[in-house]
């Protein structure tokens, strides 16, 4: 499931719903991305998406992740608009039969969301506002997935 929303994320509620009634899965890995204050240099974030385009892009990413890591279910919820420090920006959850698949699926999704997904992020702080671009480490993280697909079995 995919959702973009301007309202706060109830990550716990999302996790409970995601885990509910699943006797077929062994593990659920979730990632919650929070807006850091960066030692006072950040007071908030502004996130912009391209409605219609962004959801389609994420849906395609989820299909790739589900196939590559044999995921049984995947959830991506992303905030847009103004986000205060300490609030959740993104919540990703992956369900799989074995835990390794769920870990790798969530890791793969986050690396791609971080540096490839159609979002634009502006940081607000005492020193004004500026747009954030992925850092070189984000591109390095992404490169990890360019090798052959995982052959882990658990």
């Amino acid at each position: 499931m995919i959702r973009l929303q301007t309202e706060s994320l109830d990550v716990g509620g999302l996790l409970n719903l995601f885990c509910q009634g699943r006797a077929d899965i062994g593990g659920v890995v979730s990632f919650t991305g929070l807006a850091r204050h960066e030692d006072g240099r950040v007071t908030g974030l502004e996130l912009e998406a391209y409605p219609g385009f962004t959801e389609t892009w994420i849906a395609d990413l989820i299909l790739r992740a589900n196939h590559r890591f044999s995921l049984l279910d995947t959830l991506v919820i992303h905030r847009t608009g103004l986000i205060a420090q300490g609030e959740a920006i993104v919540f990703v959850a992956c369900a799989a039969r074995h835990r390794r698949q769920a870990f790798e699926g969530a890791d793969f999704l986050m690396d791609h969301l971080k540096s490839q997904a159609p979002f634009w992020k502006k940081q607000h702080g005492p020193g004004g506002e500026h747009w954030i671009e992925p850092r070189s480490i984000d591109y390095q993280d992404l490169d990890r997935w360019k090798t052959s697909p995982s052959d882990a079995t658990d």
Binding site: G33, Y50, F53, T56, M110, K114, W120, E133
Partner: protein
């Protein structure tokens, strides 16, 4: 008429988010109509172009209701 959408820093640079351009037949023609500073920016590194929500590379013809989006480097999560 083509509808042009700007995202992220491109929007701040241009001072607008959405604008209609009449009488443009293709991307090259549209580019020629943009302010020089914006034209330079949309041709900058990492900027992708989507026509009707599909990424295009190089030139592309535009219909009367085409939506053109200029997408600077992205950063989610």
């Amino acid at each position: 008429m083509a509808k042009v959408l700007l995202f992220g820093p491109l929007r701040d640079l241009a001072g607008w988010r959405e604008r209609n351009f009449d009488g443009v037949a293709d991307l090259a023609g549209l580019m020629a109509r943009l302010d020089p500073e914006l034209a330079l920016a949309v041709n900058g590194p990492g900027v992708q172009v989507a026509v009707d929500k599909a990424i295009v590379r190089g030139d592309a013809s535009l219909g009367p209701r085409s939506e053109v989006a200029f997408l600077p480097p992205m950063s989610g999560g």
